[in-house]
Amino acid sequence: MEVAIEGAVDAFRLDVAFQTSHGITALFGPSGAGKSMTLRYLAGLARPTSGFIRLGDRVLFQDAPHGPPIHVHPRRRRVGMVFQDYALFPHLNVGKNVAFGLHRQSSEERRTRVGELLELVGLEGYERRPPRTLSGGERQRVALARALAPEPELLLLDEPFAALDFRVRRGLRDALSEIQTRTGIPMILVTHSLADVRRLSSSLVVLDDGRVVASGATASLLASPPTPEVAALVSADDL
């Protein structure tokens, strides 16, 4: 994915450009850096003021001078999203939540696919459970299964571990890494945890105050930060 966008919400201005590749890309930075806002632009839930977003050979968004204005509706982007508080539909059970993006398939296909996805995230047999009976970690897994169901070309994860305690966090981190390897779907992970960055991401984009202050391979960026500013951000334990 190739991104170069500008956007604004009230007084906050975002101006970011970066590229992602296969595997997991971490968008890392302090609160208010514009990480979640960037994800909303990528998902199509908000519209940048200018720039472009390209995924493979598809243009998801562009504005002058990059060509005629294009803003693909989120439902046609094939970009999945795991929301910060998971946003599981409270009126639907786990099975129906996971099947929500499979509305074009037959009920037989849906049932099979929901079973496969729940197995993938380690929640076999949870189909009939209402979301309110699930733990935080289980909700996160259901949200992941739901987002993966329509086979997105890219998956966005907004602070997926923020609400969880550290033991659950560790287990889910491993699970996410394994799922990424098994499905091969590229992921962009918003986080302010350096541990997430280290354990999960192959490439890293460091954001601060609406700008990209560094980007590249995670290992080399962490080993030799290009500027003192980046060094300060990536040496703090958790932001």
Partner: protein
């Protein structure tokens, strides 16, 4: 009080049911638009939509008469289509009950829609659903409480409609005489026993309907 005619009561419930259905079909989309979309002149629209709640019912009936009466634009249009006149028919009673009661549904449903966190709609968008499908499968079920309360209020208001109904539908026994109007007629004619029974039955049935809807709201939540 021999031979008390219960037909006006049954007619009232039929009218109120039809008015409530019509209010749901027309009012729910309006409430959804007001809750979720940027509407130019939104305050003016809100005043116009809620006006029937505060207008004296006879004033409302008078305006309706101007619109659906034989000289009114809708009246002329209906007759040109061969539908005959509207005023002093059961249809007029339904229209009066609908106009008087639909603001209750819109207000209540709008509140219900506004309470639905828009993150659920955003999640549905990223899962490939159309706006129409999201409104039906996400927003509507999550706004259920507000909608149910609105339907109950709408139905109760429609059953109780008097002023506008008398103006546009009249009180033709067996045709347009509603329960509320029949009570007025009974009192005017000094048939206090009839008025008593009708008033009691209207109280009982509307309270019962309200109770059932309240119970449903609790079960669904």
């Amino acid at each position: 009080m021999t031979g008390l005619d219960l037909q006006p009561l049954l007619f009232s419930f039929r009218v109120a049911l039809q008015a409530t259905l019509l209010a749901a079909v027309v009012g729910l989309p309006v409430a959804w638009v007001l809750a979720r979309k940027q509407v130019p002149g939104r305050d003016a629209w809100t005043v116009l939509i809620l006006l029937p709640m505060v207008l004296p019912p006879t004033v409302l009936g008078y305006y309706l008469l101007l619109i659906i009466g034989r000289q009114g634009p809708v009246g002329i249009w209906a007759e040109s289509l061969g539908l005959g006149r509207i005023v002093f028919t059961p249809t007029a009673a339904v229209i009066a009950a609908f106009v008087a009661s639909v603001p209750f549904l819109i207000r209540s449903a709008q509140g219900g829609f506004e309470q639905v966190d828009s993150v659920y709609e955003e999640a549905a968008r990223t899962l490939g659903r159309s706006e129409w499908s999201i409104a039906l499968t996400v927003t509507l079920p999550l706004a259920w409480r507000g909608i149910l309360a609105g339907l109950a209020l709408t139905f109760a208001r429609a059953v109780g409609e008097f002023g506008a109904t008398v103006m546009v539908a009249g009180n033709i026994p067996g045709q347009t005489l509603t329960g509320s109007v029949a009570i007025y007629d009974a009192v005017q004619a000094g048939r206090m026993g009839d008025a008593n029974v009708l008033a009691f039955l209207l109280t009982l049935t509307t309270a019962g309907a309200l109770y059932a809807l309240t119970r449903m709201g609790r079960v669904r939540s």
